[in-house]
Symmetry: D2
């Protein structure tokens, strides 16, 4: 493998669903984006030598490691990309940062607040030495959502009053769906709340440029026992095995929130919304306009401009495929859609640009921690009588 | 029945589907519209004494007649509303006009061109004596379509280049659906072409304010034989009887057109578009903007303003329920929908206002004749080799 | 006025927005529905003799009264229809019931719980004498929502897990919109919560056939002072006057709920959702299927049948205009839309049928009281720390 | 570059819009699809040495050529991928086939019928030696459209009666948009008809599994003169230069068609449909069901199953992201969308699989020729009086 001198040499840990998405991003970013420094896909790390070798070959990684501790200290690695389940994020990220590697860590930042706080501290220390870190809330880089943020920032919505955010999936509606790792608290940290609720909390805050100060809510586990998982699960599908186990995470979480700037909000994350596959929807109402988005139609943004004359006022269905739209100029002509994986390509494009420019990328580990503080406050409220809890208390 | 001196006294012939719609319009127009002269529902005419008596009582008509010739010469009638099948329109309308009655005639104006021409001549003669006539293309008064016309007239679309109009229904998809009068040429004149194709021809011309000069097309009858109709058919439903008869009208008609001003157009009318119940859709593209409408969502108009900045350009979904929209102020607050029957109420509101103001209402009989000339040209093209035919040749 | 012996003779109090809607229902029900007993529009009651006379003539009422106490004791009145603001409902309804008149009372049942309780008691007492009462949650009779209830009742959704209900309007987004009666607690009882939140509480419970047991939530008034209302306000529009007054009701209310059967729910009612005119949306997810509805597209119901094969599974856009759908057979052929006012016609059709059949109509006053108990619990939670409150405590 | 022995070694000619799309396909197919033989991106060919070198490096091609004649005879090339404008397709393809290379040729097959016929002859001759050829109608491999074909083939639509296909773009609405090569007959062959009309002809025939036998139609050039193109144009955008030139291709084409099996059809292709960016829409009505698709929402297919009970019948919005859907299992979990470029990845996945299995891929050059015969018949009709023309006369 010949690597350009200026290349940013990447080592990735984990090669499941997220690993596949990140690999596609690392492969695709160069051909489409003008980068000061190109990525080089140096090594993929996984515990099973044979499996990781097969994966590396398939996904385009030059070399493999079976011990992440080896990976994070290799001289020929500049950046560590962490795609493992949340429980291992802290250990890997902190070691990588201490070894002077930039870190790109999938969300959620970690499974616990103390881990997240330690990661933020490590990131701050590393940052003093020019080492960068970023947490992977990929949906920020969906062009329609980046455009949404721009419209709010440009004042097109006026004062924000209402936020409505739901993330609806249905992949565990069937009670026979087995007890995969995402349904076990010790491995996944939490259920729908942490997995997909974290996305809508991050996005709502990011798009309107404000933060939740108080939340109140509930969590619910509708199906409390499930068959034990028999074998390998990939992505969001799995096959059942023998025996029955307890589901130790939430199936759904609903909560209300108040933003610092006065907006009120409702949130819902569930994996049992029959028929909704990936319906992450965000609606925002401001004094001057409104926005609506649905990830199941991710190339569209609905925008209501309250300053229009009444006769022709209406929600614009903006097809976010124009060259003036965020990230779009790198791709195809107007009307040619982008997909899920492009959000990851945009993430690494920005990350590479920030590293090349000696800038801190966003969302930072601190941003990731703050999202977890919100979720923790929701869990506190849900565990109590459902009343208001301060975020970051 | 006490009738105000200034009232316009109405006699209606026919009490099927259209009769029910017109009756609701005559009943509802007074409470919602500011009228110079109120209507009075004086008499309903039908051949079956018992049936027409029941219908009159139910629909709010004060008196009945069993012979339309009696009705059109009654002294206490100012306006004759014709809701019978097209084959009888000419005779009734001409007699009524000659008797000095205003005439409101359902579309199509008639089943044949000579009849339509005679009606136009009678209307012209009557008009000299202040007697008014109007043909019932009710969809012109759907608020969204009236708004569409206004936007085009205001230049919001620039030069019109494309018109796309379809009217899709599916009520005769089932080959066991019987041979009702609408499927017999001697009674109905033509099939989908005349019944629903006439609507889209009228609307396309009305909304863009231009006329078709040439057309070319095809007609098709997919199901050539059907069970004889056993009994009464109402609206668009019927029950089968015994025996088999020949379908003598078209099931579908497709044609292309050229407008005087340079726009090109495609039209399609069919009763076998499975799943489409009343999908009258109109799309218009101009140099400065575009419009789209679907009767199955009749309170909405989609408008693309080509002068918008690219970032937020998109089709506006205008909910046509604002007080500034045509006809809407008479009804409910914003966001409260109107239905099918309101288009008829708007028709009679305008007709009454025109009569009160001594103005000619539109669409005129001449407008109805011109639509039939278009349809006749389509039939000529379809009967030949499908080449261009001049309208009104 | 000649009135059939069997007619149900109606007297109506109030002739604003709701009075116009009810009048259209009373006028239209006879021509379209097969009724055992026809309504007769005997008298309209309002305080201003001149204004009520004009209104009565316009809306089709035979006689007028200026004192509701006279109206409710007239011998020629069988049913009192109450369309006044909520603060007067209790007094009028109780007097009418005591006078042996059937009562049809617009929602909300009343502005206070004690009033509502007194009304329920009066209704129960009257019911022993065969006197009927009904509260006007008209949206239950929108065909799509009646179909929704039927699908749930038929088990097509399985066990209900999620309810999501919002009612979004924007008519007071402008801070210059004046302080109309609906924004004053003494007249309106509450704001968005009582006016439109009551609709979604009633509907959610009605459609899924279950009741909320606990709620927690918040209310917010974004614009705390407004110009005093200068003159007459009609419907939801008004013109400003001089001076500034305090808004004493909520602009918005958000709350979570738990149903007796285990479903969790979120609710939001607001009048400041810029661009949303009448967006009452209801989503339900069950173990076997899901439903979605939006009042801005009120002739449609989205239904997901979880038992479909994966290849063709998807939300059905049901155009609720088939003769098999609730109430539809009375109207037009498939694909011909109904509007807002039809829900009232369906209400009175059912009410008249129930009276003719000596049955209790629904929703009952007790149903109306229970909705207010829910809203009161929300207000308690909002006034406290946002924690759970039992309904009907 | 180390190439596996079994690899299929690819040389590509042209590196504009289509070259970028194909390159992404060649890069992405391996990581996501199980292939018997992997592709190797051996060489990219373009006339400008410097530009092609930059492009090759960016897009991942190992080597460059500046003369396609060199490329097609290289020993280390197994397959030639042709991404140049249509005027050069025949010469390159025939030379490559004669050199024993498999050929993947972008649509349209060529600019003229004689060229296309020569290509088909060359392909037939090469096929005898096991050399494969395929024309690039990429939209056949959009999962929703592949599913559409499957549903028709499975009989879910019954007898096909109606096809409605439009391809609407707006990129030359502005009269100041310059005279790029796509607007010049000598380079582009034809305008909207050949460029995008060819897609809808191919798709309509492919999805319903039938062929057009007769067509009649019109073509129109609304803007007959445009500024000369000043510089490089990329994709569908360009900047103007000096002087004015004549547009020698159609801006729009509208035509009707009859299929062998009895269906009737309408087609429209235009580049002046203001606000429509890439609206390739296909609607099909059969005796048992219907389909609707819009490329601007390319992950969705609307399906109406006419065998459903009336109560819940409606168009299903199928989100075509389930593992049972064509091509989808290779990618992400349900609800995670694919984009435009994935259709090319699916093309090369199938092409590689066919080559590995010694099968003829589709669409064949003969399929490409037949599409051009359809378009030629449209041009004949448009040049004459618009009457019917036999396809392939």
């Amino acid at each position: 493998m010949t690597v350009e001198r200026s290349a940013i040499r990447v080592g990735m840990v984990g090669y499941g669903f997220m690993g596949a998405a990140h690999s596609q991003a690392w492969r695709s970013v160069g051909p489409f984006f003008d980068l000061g420094r190109q990525p080089a896909m140096v090594a993929l790390c996984g515990r099973d030598q044979e499996a990781v070798t097969v994966a590396a070959e398939r996904m385009g990684w030059h070399d493999v490691e079976t011990d992440w501790k080896q990976l994070v200290t290799r001289d020929d690695i500049d950046l560590v990309d962490i795609c493992t389940p949340g429980g291992s994020h802290a250990e890997i990220a902190i070691a990588a940062l201490e070894a002077g590697k930039h870190v790109f860590c999938e969300k959620p930042l970690s499974n616990t607040l103390p881990e997240a706080e330690a990661m933020v501290a490590a990131a701050a220390k590393a940052q003093e030495r020019g080492v960068r870190s970023m947490v992977g809330f990929n949906y920020r880089r969906v062009p329609a959502l980046a455009l949404a943020r721009r419209l709010v920032a440009d004042g097109r919505l006026g004062t924000i009053r209402h936020v409505r955010a739901v993330y609806l999936q249905d992949w565990i509606t069937d009670p026979e769906f087995p007890l995969v790792w995402r349904l076990q608290r010790d491995l996944a940290g939490s259920g729908a709340l942490g997995d997909i609720g974290s996305h809508i909390v991050d996005l709502a805050q990011h798009v309107i440029g404000d933060r939740l100060t108080r939340v109140s809510g509930l969590t619910e586990t509708f199906i409390r026992h499930r068959p034990l998982s028999g074998g390998a699960s990939t992505g969001l599908s799995a096959s059942g095995g023998e025996g029955i186990g307890e589901v130790t995470v939430d199936d759904a979480a609903l909560f209300l929130g108040r933003f610092g700037g006065g907006a009120v909000a409702s949130f819902e994350a569930t994996r049992l919304a029959t028929g909704r596959k990936n319906a992450m929807r965000l609606e925002i109402n401001g004094s001057a306009g409104s926005l609506a988005f649905d990830l199941e139609s991710m190339n569209e943004l609905s925008f209501y401009d309250g300053t229009q004359p009444a006769d022709t006022a209406g929600f614009h269905r903006i097809l976010v495929t124009e060259p003036t739209h965020p990230y779009v100029a790198a791709w195809w002509p107007p009307g040619h859609l982008l997909g899920y994986e492009h959000s990851f390509t945009h993430e690494v494009a920005d990350l590479l640009a920030d590293i090349a420019a000696d800038r801190d990328p966003t969302p930072s580990f601190a941003d990731g921690l703050q999202v977890q503080q919100v979720l923790t406050a929701v869990e506190r409220s849900a565990a109590g009588d459902g009343g208001w809890e301060d975020v970051g208390r």
